[in-house]
Symmetry: C2
Subunit: 402 residues, 2 copies
Amino acid sequence: MPELHLLSPAGFKASAVYAGIKRRQRPDVGLLLCDTTATAAAVFTTNKVFAAPIQVGREHIASGKLRGIVVNSGNANACTGRQGLVDARRMCDLAADVAGCDAGQILPSSTGIIGRVLPMQKIERGIIEAGQYLGKSSEHAQLFADAILTTDTCRKSAAVRFKAGRQTLTLAGVCKGSGMIGPRMGPPHATMLAYLTTDAAIAPALLRKMLAGAADNSFNAVTIDDHTSTNDTAAILASGASGVKITTERDRKTFVSALNEVCRSLAYQIAADGEGATKVVRVEVKNAATEPAARAIARAIADSPLVKCAMHGNDPNWGRIVSAAGMAGVPFDPDRCILTLQNVVVFRAGRPVEFDAADLSADLKSPEVCVELNCRMGKASQTFWTCDLSREYITINADYHT
Amino acid sequence: MPELHLLSPAGFKASAVYAGIKRRQRPDVGLLLCDTTATAAAVFTTNKVFAAPIQVGREHIASGKLRGIVVNSGNANACTGRQGLVDARRMCDLAADVAGCDAGQILPSSTGIIGRVLPMQKIERGIIEAGQYLGKSSEHAQLFADAILTTDTCRKSAAVRFKAGRQTLTLAGVCKGSGMIGPRMGPPHATMLAYLTTDAAIAPALLRKMLAGAADNSFNAVTIDDHTSTNDTAAILASGASGVKITTERDRKTFVSALNEVCRSLAYQIAADGEGATKVVRVEVKNAATEPAARAIARAIADSPLVKCAMHGNDPNWGRIVSAAGMAGVPFDPDRCILTLQNVVVFRAGRPVEFDAADLSADLKSPEVCVELNCRMGKASQTFWTCDLSREYITINADYHT
């Protein structure tokens, strides 16, 4: 079977061009269009400072119907006042001309530097040019995936093919995100950007609910620097081109499972490509008192620069992990918990457990390390993904000049 | 006038010795004693994982009376179970023997690595030895100040002499803190450690209230890595040796003002000596909707690794500051606010303001930089102190091995 990609679900086409917004000659304006009107859902940033395309996107997604997505990288169109809104709407107008639809059926996205007015001449030319090169090949999917990248060092995509009854459905997605990653997206909330396609037919309300649920356990559970962006967006378009409508409880479960798989894969890829990352840190909080407590503890551990530096240095300095859990502001009892690093118990019931520090340190030199904290207080669990904190992170964020 | 120090207020003596707990031969066990029973108040960490000395300290401070403080550095006595409590109480017993008082009149403190049982043989010998060298000189004050340091690169102290009516009073303090600094201390909450002395006489309830207020606008308003420690402690001892009792409204105000000045100076010194710091970043949030909103916005900006990296790189990347304010989870409107960097307006009422980036970048190469965010929503203000985030921070926290 050939490798699946963003355009494997039937009914979609895409393209991207280099319009001169980014410094390096990489695609920076992209179009993803559905052949017909798609059922659509999106979650956006909860930051009170949100970019112009977020405001326009919230308006356009309200109908639950979209023809496509227009995106640029290199400039976030955030903190740009009224001009920013004019520019975001103009992007929709141009993409709508290409798609032959209303501007209200286009979701706009931007990512890059905050506080600069979009270079509209370049963007206008870029959208028109991209409209001339639309296609359905894996190369087209790759170009679109590349057009949303900023400090990312690699393209991020995931896809699954699954059965709904006897029918085969496909669900695919691409995303970007490497810095300013601490998404807290809510029904109509990342700068992470993620776009998903599927050929299933789904009612808008159901699609919305499924996306919000999937985002909470994927994009909203990844952190690089805990900085919720002004532009975070995750959107899904369901073309219905398979002719298979998701209605039965069994099909719903199958679809949710596929959606979760794709979203988690994309979120993992963001953590793995975190700015300066040399490894993924998986934080598994188990048996917390409540769901919010599990999430707060997982986030506190995943966000701690001290924990992330220790992981970078392969140092089993577990005191930093337990103390991060204790500062989460939610019920937590060190005298009950069991902390495991790479399957080695290091702290149990308030007391340190003897372990071979040299062995464990060697084991931490792994591309993925696992911190598991069993709270033994309830039944709630939460997985968070983050990365280590390296000198390279400082180089990227201090030496890079606006 | 000779320089003031921790033992300038009448009625105190101190000493410190190297007991072999720290790797480097620096003082690591200290005693600070009052000649008589002092009125005392303390605030401790709000982390749910708190060290054994915190638990014992909360018990001992309850009476509002103390004879002294015993402290060790190099080991936090945190996450050490029942043995940790036995050891913290033993420290008090030994210090009480020196002071000739009940163990309940001694406040114990520890700072250093989490999860290791205290080396009690060394500590016992250290306390007994320190008891033999007690004195009131500036050298004794310096030794005690040095005994509480861990990754700090310099000693931290502050003192003021002020008039209450015709009488002269002295208030002094020492502190430590460089990493794991994000204190949230509450009435009976910081690993920062701060110890204050004064020769004023003050009622315990009033002293408690004054210390809590001063801590909120000093130690609780400094962040290096937002990691609330298991051991944070700020304590004040009032010997009363001046014979001046603080009772009148005017004297209270004078005392509060002196206390705030000393606590702020100490907090500033913590920010300036933050792990890897090359500069202090002062975050001034003005005219926020409410006091909690002002604090949340100031903390969000001061905690953002993206903001801290930009300050390290002398980069006027103000979008990171505005977006940090927007993610604080409190009322904030970018269309109203005015953001000033080093007195240069960079963002006003939702729109970028033209400025000379090269000039401003040059101005950011300063040992103290100021970020001022005028929210124009209410009347609440909050100052926070932090430092930039450098490669040296990673070196200190990743390469240092437990």
